[in-house]
């Protein structure tokens, strides 16, 4: 049981990372232990995959101590455009 919900995480990621798009899905049936997130931010520009994930992990360092399972997809705005294109094609 953690005290976090997807709304809280979305807000925090949005402000701290100046993200243009964040969606966090609670996959824990409400217990707050498992989330998956899609984050689009210009802060990721020029960063490797590992660096992006590290940035998100450090932003949520406190929260991740309690959140048991956190999965993320982190995109730069350019990458996000491509992802959206691909999704439309499917």
């Amino acid at each position: 049981m953690s005290k976090y919900n997807s709304k809280y995480l979305e807000d925090k990621l949005k402000t701290q990372l100046e993200a243009q798009h964040v969606s966090v899905v609670d996959e824990s049936d409400g217990c707050g232990g498992k989330f998956s997130a899609v984050i689009v931010s210009a802060a990721f520009n020029g960063k490797t995959l590992l660096q992006k994930h590290r940035l998100v992990n450090s932003t949520l360092a406190e929260e991740l101590k309690e959140i048991h399972a956190f999965s993320q997809k982190s995109y730069t705005p350019d990458e996000w455009e491509k992802v959206k294109e691909q999704q439309q094609q499917q």
Binding site: L49, L50, N57, F70, K73
Partner: protein, 183 residues
């Protein structure tokens, strides 16, 4: 899950499934590998992954950096996971095992559930909060999400190539060159 396990444990099932697996193997190993990733699991039984349940340094509270420096270089690909490759005990660890299997990678696996010092040690070592963790050529690559993304983008094939591992997926693709990006 329980029901599946019970079914698997029944002896009659074990025998018949072994026959099925064999016939699958003698069938089109090559042909199925690219088209159906699921089938390639059966098609690559020769992968031997070394697996360490408990490591030598169980006394220390946390496995130190020097030990981990050595540990992550014992093979070209080294992973730290929950459970072992034949019985992963976490969905994320399982995903990593399945991805590596698809690529036909031989790797060393360490079960952090058997060794709390290792679990904390590797987290400190990489400054990464979660398990599983994947190392290629001694370099920390990331966790499950990153490996999955690299797998989907094709980067994993390139990274493996750099350390001299030719992915099974690449071999399958080269066997039938005209097919583009079958996702």
């Amino acid at each position: 899950m329980n029901r599946i396990c019970q079914t698997l444990l029944r002896q009659s099932y074990v025998r018949s499934s072994a026959v099925v697996a064999q016939s699958q193997l003698s069938g089109g190993v090559r042909a199925t590998a690219a088209a159906m990733p699921a089938a390639s699991f059966n098609a690559t039984p020769l992968i031997i992954s070394r697996f360490y349940a408990a490591d030598a340094t169980t006394d220390a509270a946390v496995v130190d950096k020097a030990t981990l420096d050595k540990l992550v270089r014992t093979n070209k690909v080294v992973i730290f996971m929950k459970g072992n490759p034949s019985a992963p005990r976490c969905g994320f660890s399982n995903a990593v095992v399945q991805i590596l299997r698809m690529h036909g990678v031989q790797y060393d696996a360490h079960d952090v559930l058997q060794n709390e010092a290792l679990r904390q040690g590797v987290k400190d070592y990489t400054d990464w909060p979660t398990i599983p963790q994947i190392f290629i050529d001694g370099e920390f690559v990331g966790g499950c999400d990153i490996l999955l993304q690299m797998h989907q983008s094709g980067d994993l094939i390139e990274e493996l190539k750099k350390v001299g591992i030719i992915s099974e997926l690449l071999k399958a693709e080269e066997a039938k060159p005209k097919q583009e990006d079958s996702k």
